[in-house]
Amino acid sequence: MGILTYIAIFGMTLIWIVGWMGISMIAGSFFELPLKTTCLIGALLGPLGFMLTLIAGFLEGDTEEKFAQVVQLGPTGTDWDPFA
């Protein structure tokens, strides 16, 4: 029974950590934050890491918006058809 409890507790903690890591990664990719940062923030801080990712994303977006030059690289809003 002991080994099963050991696996269950570590498994549950691992699912929690990996789950929040994934959520933070998705949020971070939306704001184009470094992958290593978002992974570690999510894994170490869980839901708080997700919140921190959002804060960092908004702060980064704020600073980049102020100085970014608008460069149109290609047509925007064109959908790519996977069956074409």
């Binding site: 923030i41 170490l44 801080l45 921190l52």
Partner: protein, 351 residues
Amino acid sequence: MNREFEPDVFTSDSYPSHSVLQPRLLLPVALAVLAIQGSLLPWVTVREFNGDVHTYNLLDVKAGTSILITISALAIIGAVVAAFKRITGLTIMSLAIASLGWMAAISGALLGILGSLLPSVNVAGLDLTRASVGQGSGVTITIVASFSLAFIIVRQLPPLDMYSPKAHLSLLPLIALLPLIFIAINMHSEWMILGSAETSYQAIIAGDSLYGSGLLVLILWMNVGTWIAAVIIQKSLVAKFAGLISILVSVVVTAYAIFLWVGGNALSWLIPSNVDEWAKVSIEPITYLVGLSAVSLLVIGCLSFLPAVQGKSLGIAERGKFGNTRVHTSDLTAAVLAVIVLVSAIYRLAT
């Protein structure tokens, strides 16, 4: 790369030497030991109606010792790696300790679910079944230590390092954490006792047995996290966000303390004198202390909106004078934590 920084956040003067760029090893090790020590303190408290209190920690769980040994071994490996490759080693150590912190947090959440499955026993609007199970102080210590260790790593990562000066920490969040952690710990302490020790019937009402306290405890912990985030990310947006949550939390906790005090006194007044002995109502001193902490948290929350207060900071990279030698502030903090852990361990062994 063009970026706009707050002048007090990113200056070349903030980095006086290469040694300041990397976190020193003693404080993370002390925090890891504190988190492990927290797992040996009560995680779950069960209060019987006759006044007896039973506490359980990680070691009481099946395979608890093996879990603790695994986490300690990983933390030691991290500490050894950190001696050669600081950030990598500290990340390993922090992940190991974070898993312990999450076990503590998940145990609290499971406790809430378990409590909701038990049949309720309502007395004067209070669910005595929920009052019979609660979190122990070990959960708070483990989570705070694991969060603090995690933030030491997180503040080194880009782009957060741009907003987190290595030489000083914001003062207001550090002050805000004191009443907040006090409230978080004492939400699980006795606020009111129904009955007396002389009689066989005694119900202990903790803060976490009050209506809506589950959600409040969750928001309290989120607030602890946002204030820790405000310590490292020195942007007014983060401090204001944490301050706003603090204001909401403090209003609710103050209302809890006032309603319990009013309700307790009203109940005491309504009980006929012939049943007074076994149905005595006593408001515990912790209720008043929690109320006062909530009021101070309200003031701190309001202060977070003032730019003049946000700018106050505490130097951490400076070496403080300790006797004839100059010691790093982080090393000094680590030494204080080590003494606390040692005294606590000796006290537990002696009692």
